[in-house]
């Protein structure tokens, strides 16, 4: 069977360098060819910020050339790590290997082990491009941090109410930072202390607190499951695996109840919090219901072409909150086989017994062919990547860009998560009403 990647919506494992960069003052050291970092960052992050304290042009990199392909690149790696520690102002260094250095057989672990007693921690993660996707690479990087860094920290007491939050993959989900901040806000409103390692001014300080949390909260259908299991094994920290990234009132309230119950929060407190938020949320909705439902062009059926996390999040919102009906939904990030059946099951639990058929596919061409053939009884709403923009136009549909490649709007800090995120998604969906004759 032909193995073809047509309209790629993910990159290779080395793309997990974005996960390292998302940890403030962590420095990725790339042991690969000269072009990998720039290309992966430009593609993944693009208009959503591939710069910051670092950008790929500041990543230390061995820039493997013909000499290293022939003679191996271990010496070069040793040199670059040594000098990275002198030049780069960082708290933590993560060596990431690429295809070439793994094929030529460099013993990267051996070289990195020589830096065991360096002033700053240096760890390594095998992220050769042919070994997996950037989403899997993200999990491997977190596992690397647990196995090679966190277990070496002095043991400490658990901190009451401290919750580690694991969710969207940095950069790969264009709204990652806004999503994580919104989850933190919700968790803290429950009376807990959120701890996330990603984003501004968190970094090593928060990373070091990970083993001290009372529990790990994973908000994702599959990515990160390996990490919270490993944290349970290493630090006896229980975890709550909550599969749906909550968007809008309905799902966010369900989320708050689940987390509150797991954490032993007084249900009265949780219900009061929900009531306050829902009241505000429906104030805004009520004011604009006519925009949503009195027009010629808004959609009543939808499809999604995005990763499992956003597919589940968006479809729950559109069905359980907004009252739309799903057509076939397409999950595009190459979900590992072992998670697929469970994930399909999540799409059989909507309100009123509504179910959605999901297809796991990485072939954009076939996905588009199938969408073209489906009946939307009107203008389809397509939630996907920039690859779906033309398709939506061709089908006379509406379009919201939610995943890589984004290239449609600049995203600084916005998010579709939570009560506020639901309102933001409504704004983005129904702006189309004013962009055509109605």
């Amino acid at each position: 069977m032909t193995k073809i990647l047509d309209e790629p919506r993910y990159v290779c494992a080395l793309g997990a360098m974005q996960t390292v960069q998302a940890i403030n003052r962590a420095i990725p050291i790339i042991h690969a060819g000269p072009g990998c970092a720039g290309k992966l960052a430009g593609s993944l992050a693009g208009t959503t910020g591939d710069s910051g304290y670092l950008n790929p042009q500041t990543y230390p990199c061995t820039n493997i050339g013909e000499t290293e392909v022939v003679f191996g690149g271990e010496n070069k790696l040793r040199e670059v790590i040594t000098n990275s520690l002198k030049v780069m102002d960082g708290d933590l260094f993560v060596v990431l290997s690429g295809c070439t250095t793994e094929i030529v057989g460099d013993d990267i672990d051996q070289v990195v082990s020589e830096f065991h007693d360096a002033e700053k921690p240096v760890i390594s993660v095998a992220t050769a491009g042919f070994k997996g996707t950037n989403i899997e690479g993200h999990e491997w990087v977190i596992n690397g941090l647990i196995n090679q860094y966190l277990v070496r920290l002095p043991k400490g007491e658990k901190i009451k109410g401290l919750v580690n939050i694991w969710s969207s993959v940095p950069s790969y989900d264009p709204h990652w930072i806004g999503n994580i901040r919104e989850l933190e806000k919700l968790v803290s409103e429950l009376g807990l202390i959120p701890n996330s390692i990603f984003g501004e001014y968190r970094g090593k300080e928060n990373l070091d607190k990970v083993p001290l949390a009372e529990f790990n909260l994973l908000v994702s259908p599959w990515v990160g499951l390996g990490n919270v299991k490993l944290l349970e094994e290493k630090f006896a920290t229980p975890y709550l695996h909550y599969s749906t990234l909550p968007i809008g009132a309905h799902e966010t309230s369900v989320f708050l109840r689940a987390v509150g119950e797991f954490a032993g929060i007084n249900p009265k407190h949780t219900e009061a919090l929900i009531e306050k938020h829902e009241k505000e949320y429906y104030y805004f909705l009520e004011r604009s219901v006519d925009v949503f439902f009195e027009n010629r062009t808004a959609s009543r059926m939808f499809t999604t072409v995005t990763d499992a996390a956003n597919t589940l999040a968006v479809s729950k919102f559109l069905i359980n909150d907004l009252g739309l009906m799903p057509n076939t939904l397409f999950i595009t990030e190459g979900v590992p086989e072992e998670h697929r059946e469970r994930i399909s099951g999540y799409f059989k639990q909507f309100n009123y017994g509504i179910e959605a058929n999901v297809v796991f596919s990485t072939d954009g061409y076939l996905i588009h062919k199938q969408i073209e053939q489906e009946d939307f009884s009107g203008a389809p709403l397509i939630v996907g990547s920039i690859f779906e923009k033309k398709l939506a136009r061709q089908l006379g549909g509406n379009f919201v860009c939610i995943s890589v490649p984004i290239k449609e709007k600049v995203i600084l800090h916005s998010s579709y998560v939570g009560y506020h995120g639901g309102l933001k998604l409504m704004e983005d969906i129904f702006t189309s009403v004013y962009q055509s004759f109605n």
Binding site: T2, P8, P34, G35, P56, Q57, Y59, G65, K389, P405
Partner: protein
């Protein structure tokens, strides 16, 4: 030394042209060493990620509206397909050009493929890509993995060329092949010269313009057409939003010129060598001296020297008075430039025309000659005419080096040309301008516009100064006090 368009592939710039990525010195030292032939490349014992020939070659070729690219590598290599998504569609749309036959697919190589090879799947992906999109040509992009495991791309082509009946061309852009990403331009144009361009049947009135865009920003394309019209010429822009048919006829053109000699010299010299299409070896058409030199050189080819002088006089009267006024305010300002070698030498000259003192020039690599054995005109001009002997460094986007230099130079403005380079100057409060569009200072009109833009950003420093107050560089204090060339070492051979 000339280009052989029949050879299997073109070598790296390091091998063909002795181009280099490591140098630290001055303009005068560089001139002396270039002339005496004792300029040698230096290596680094600390380096940062730069770019590779594959990104360059296949990113550029993605502009061909009716060709398909099949990238033979792991998924990450095809990140270029994500990178170019939408941008070339928007260009094609603006130009009302058809792009529905374009595709960028990938063989998504896995670990097993690295052991057993994957040419069979490659052949299938080529077939499938053809069946889906019916492109007019297919380019097979090599990757580090396909190169290291020795995949026989030519073998696959032999099998498929007849079956599909369209040109299928390997692009030997393995990422480890060269530290100079501009090698990617050469391998792309080599594939085009070898597999796409046809021998001329008749002479056209076209002039090949080798650049990155079509001059749509600021509507420069209208100015270009107006000038070419006087010479009786019509432009054909390569490669952004071109098509296979235009490329096939490139050999019939009156001349070839390029907005960036780093980008266009291989194609220009190749077309001249193989098909006798004159390659305009003037300064690039930017700034006053550049535009005049270019316009006269092109006019000479078509024998319209008198006509071009009339045109130049009219344009001068229109735009130079304005430029002179702006220059009064720019005179004496200090600048640092960091760009590719062609553009860097070119823009340094323009800044000097404005009366700005260039204190340092960083080049992403350095070519001291092109494939015809001739020296780059913009660099030679600078060596002969620069009013001062500034410091000169060659570094392939080595941010730690040019930030160290920039902090010491502390200029009034930093002028760069590469995505992701401008912000770094702003982080230390130096206003910066990214020469993103290659027609930014085309002709007198563009030059006046560029001068005004520079003045604007020098006058209003709000953004840079605000940013600098709130961010810090990822470099240690120790590094910022070291000499910038500390990690450059002599090569052994």
């Amino acid at each position: 030394m000339a280009i052989n368009i029949k050879s299997k592939m073109c070598d790296s710039r390091e091998a063909r042209l002795n181009s280099l990525t490591g140098y630290s010195g001055t303009l005068h030292d560089l001139k002396e060493k270039t002339c005496s032939g004792c300029l040698s490349d230096k290596k680094r014992c600390f380096s940062q990620a730069s770019s590779c020939p594959a990104t360059c070659a296949l990113g550029l070729m993605s502009g061909i509206n009716d060709a398909a690219i099949v990238h033979h590598g792991p998924s990450g290599c095809a990140a270029t397909a994500i990178g170019i998504a939408s941008n070339y569609d928007l260009l094609a749309e603006a130009l009302h050009r058809d792009r529905k036959h374009f595709a960028y697919t990938c063989t998504d190589m896995t670990e097993a493929d690295t052991v057993f090879g994957a040419t069979e799947n490659l052949a299938n992906v080529i077939r499938e890509t053809y069946n889906r999109y019916t492109p007019k040509a297919i380019f097979i992009g090599a990757s580090c993995v396909s190169g290291v495991i020795g995949e026989d791309l030519e073998g696959v082509i032999d099998e498929l060329h007849e079956e599909l009946g369209i040109p299928i061309a390997p692009v030997h852009c393995e990422g480890f092949k060269s530290q100079i990403w501009a090698t990617g331009f050469d391998v792309a144009y080599h594939a085009i010269l070898k597999y796409i361009v046809k021998p001329p049947k008749k002479k056209s009135n076209k002039v090949n313009i080798v650049g990155f865009t079509q001059g749509l920003s600021w509507n420069t394309v209208t100015d270009i057409k107006r000038m070419l019209d006087i010479l009786g010429l019509e432009p054909v822009f390569f490669l952004a939003s071109t098509n296979v048919e235009e490329l096939e006829h490139a050999s019939e053109a009156v001349a070839t010129f390029t907005t960036c000699s780093t980008l266009g010299s291989y194609f220009g010299i190749g077309l001249e060598t193989a098909y006798g299409v004159p390659f305009v070896r003037s300064l690039p058409p930017h700034g006053v001296a550049g535009f005049e030199d270019f316009a006269r050189a092109l006019a000479k080819i078509v024998g319209k020297e008198a006509e071009i002088e009339v045109y130049l006089n009219e344009e001068r009267d229109l735009y130079l008075p304005k430029l002179e006024k702006i220059k009064e305010q720019l005179r004496g300002k200090r600048a640092m430039v960091a760009m590719g070698p062609g553009f860097g030498a070119n823009y340094t000259r323009i800044l000097q025309e404005f009366g700005i003192k260039v204190e340092h020039l960083s080049a992403w690599h350095l070519d001291t000659e092109y494939d015809d054995g001739q020296r780059p005109p913009a660099l030679m001009y600078l060596m002969e005419n620069s009013p001062n002997n500034f410091t000169y460094s060659v570094n392939d986007l080595q941010n730690f080096e040019f930030m160290n230099i920039l902090r010491n130079v502390n200029p009034d403005v930093f002028v760069s040309r590469h995505p992701g380079s401008t912000v770094w100057a702003m982080k230390i409060g130096v206003p910066a301008y990214c020469v993103y569009d290659e027609y930014n200072s085309f002709g007198y009109k563009g030059t006046a516009r560029f001068a005004q833009t520079l003045l604007n950003i020098i006058v209003n420093r709000s953004f840079s100064e605000n940013l600098a107050k709130h961010v810090r560089l990822p470099y240690t204090n120790w590094w910022m006090k070291q000499p910038s060339d500390k990690f450059l070492v002599e090569t052994e051979n």
